[in-house]
């Protein structure tokens, strides 16, 4: 009996050790990855040339200065414009639709919502090719408004999905009371729903901003002029141009750093909203 108990505790200990080992191994790879991403941009080009995985012997901002001067500032500006504009348009258009799908009862509601929702799962590559052909014929390649329409279109199904699910859990009794008081649809929306929708708004902004900020494919196909470049394209083109003395690896990493940081900081600060976005609708 006593022997048995000792055996169990030993097995338990071994199990626990193995579990911890799995957890530690994965977290070490993540920390290693982050260390490379966070440290390399601050090392001098010559230091990095010794190898990325070496003990750093320099600390410099020269990579950031060089990449910023080398056309990255333009990409930064363009990406910011696209991200912010997309957020504004999707909030208005998606919010209205989410409101309608959840609050207004009409016959086609379910069918139309299912249609918009399903678009979320369609490959961006697939839709990009016909759009590219059409844009080429219409001369819309490199047009800010033309590309913005695509970004908004791509982000809308998700936005509607999040808003609809949020509104579905909205306290309906408040709305009913307002209706009895004779407030119309617009009044309900602007005076009751919008003030209470702060969390869902943050969730939507978070996802849409980062999605457009880190976009690569649409930029690759639709923004082909130098003055229209977006951040992700600029960074990848540094690597594709071949690593050389004028464009050392450390500059490429400075670019990776500058693109990743806004995204990852937003997500870590807003983790609550991120999880909410993932789970709204899929878990109830």
């Amino acid at each position: 009996m006593k022997d048995n108990k000792i055996n169990i505790t030993i097995i338990d200990k071994i199990k626990r050790a193995i579990t911890q080992l799995v957890f530690i191994s994965y977290s070490v790879t993540v920390l290693f990855f982050m260390a490379i991403l966070l440290i390399t941009p601050f090392r001098s080009p010559r230091d990095v040339a010794r190898g990325i995985i070496t003990i750093p012997n320099s600390f410099t901002f020269i990579n950031f200065i060089n990449i910023w001067k080398g056309g990255f500032s333009l990409g930064f500006k363009n990406s910011m414009l696209f991200s912010i504009s997309t957020c504004i348009v999707t909030l208005i258009v998606g919010g209205l639709a989410g409101y309608a799908f959840s609050f207004l009862k009409f016959r086609l509601s379910r069918a139309l919502y299912t249609f918009v929702f399903s678009c979320m799962f369609i490959s961006i590559m697939l839709i990009s090719i016909p759009l590219f052909m059409q844009y080429k014929n219409l001369g819309l390649i490199n047009s800010f408004l033309g590309v913005l329409i695509i970004y908004v279109g791509i982000r809308l199904p998700f936005t509607v999905f999040i808003f609809k699910n949020f509104f579905d859990e909205f306290p309906k009794s408040i709305i009913e009371a307002a209706k009895i008081d004779g407030i119309n649809d617009i009044g309900i929306l602007t005076r009751i729903v919008i003030p209470l929708s702060k969390p869902v708004t943050i969730t939507v902004i978070l996802f849409n901003f980062v999605a457009v900020w880190t976009d690569f494919l649409i930029g690759l196909l639709f923004l082909q002029k130098n003055e229209n470049v977006i951040v992700m394209l600029r960074v990848i083109s540094i690597f594709q141009g071949g690593i050389s003395r004028t464009a050392p690896l450390s500059i490429g990493y400075a670019g990776l750093f500058l693109v990743t940081m806004p995204a990852i900081i937003l997500y870590i600060l807003g983790k609550k909203y991120y999880v909410e976005g993932l789970t709204l609708g899929s878990i109830k």
Partner: protein, 292 residues
């Protein structure tokens, strides 16, 4: 009064029209165009006459098309089990508050929110043939592990798979953990007092609670592993060497922009539409079942 009610009933149109305009233009229009393009003859990016199903016949007689489909399948059957089981494992133990659980919960969230392009790029520079990982492996006497990760057709696909798993295991973990936290913790404590082992708790309490969300996670993974792989493939291998790491989505891309044959590209695109349609139907069905 009756008239007023009628106006009220149709007010939804103004709320919904903008979103329908955008989605019709960005989704419906390209899908219908794909169908149209696939039935036409193409002469470099210029549309020619109808030529029936010739494009489909070329696609179905191309061995590279099937190689791409097979690669998709390999990615699906290797990534999904690892990501689901790994996610369950991490979620369960973090929920049970193993030592350091707060730290793990924070760290494992990071890969999920890293842009896939960045992950792909950094893995490529690290796992280069002459890259730092291989140098270290050689130095510590594991030289036989220092393979040409992306340049060898036998390994390129698996290097991509490894990267995808590394990035997405935290995603399923977050999904499962979010569900687990809705469970009353006292159930677990009662089970522990009754002497249930970790494995029994997992098998008889967690799994039944997570059944629906596991289904949803599988469908979400299926969709992203068929339709949202472009960034990884483009950055890491460009589908190569040869077609060894080309997937359906990338096959559509190279046919359109490398070989400039929109016909072939659209015909293979139609297969992707069909697969997506099937998966979306499956997803809606899973969700509906859960609502009951």
């Amino acid at each position: 009064m009756k008239n007023r009610k009628l106006i009220f009933n149709y007010r939804w149109i103004f709320f919904v029209i903008p979103v329908l305009t955008f989605t019709s233009f960005v989704y419906v229009n390209p899908i219908l165009s794909t169908l149209l393009y696939s039935l036409r003859k193409w002469d470099y990016l210029h549309m020619g006459n109808f030529n029936g199903f010739a494009n489909y016949i070329s696609v179905l007689s191309s061995k590279y098309f099937f190689e791409s489909l097979l690669n998709n399948l390999i990615i699906i059957i290797t990534v999904i089990p690892v990501v689901i089981i790994g996610g369950l494992f991490f979620a369960q133990f973090i929920y049970l508050k193993i030592p350091g659980y707060k730290y793990y919960n924070f760290i494992f969230f990071i890969p999920v929110v890293l842009p896939d392009i960045i992950v792909a790029k950094i893995f490529t520079t690290l796992l280069n043939k002459t890259g730092p990982i291989n140098i270290i492996l050689t130095k510590i006497g594991l030289g036989f592990f220092a393979i040409d990760w992306f340049g060898n057709p036998r390994f390129s696909l698996y290097s991509i798979i490894m990267t995808i798993i590394w990035k997405s295991v935290g995603f399923t973990m977050i999904l499962f953990l979010a569900r687990l936290t809705t469970i009353d913790y006292s159930i677990y404590e009662a089970a522990k007092i009754d002497g249930a082992s970790d494995m029994q708790i997992f098998r008889y309490i967690s799994i039944p609670m997570l059944k629906n969300i596991i289904q949803i996670a599988i469908v979400l993974q299926l969709i992203s592993l068929t339709s949202f792989l472009f960034n990884y493939i483009y950055v890491m291998t460009q589908g190569g060497p040869g077609f060894s790491s080309t997937v359906l989505e990338y096959f559509i891309y190279i046919n359109a922009f490398k070989y400039q044959d929109i016909g072939i590209s659209s015909a293979s695109g139609l297969f992707l539409i069909l697969i997506t349609g099937f998966l979306v139907y499956f997803y809606l069905f899973t969700n509906k079942k859960q609502e009951r």
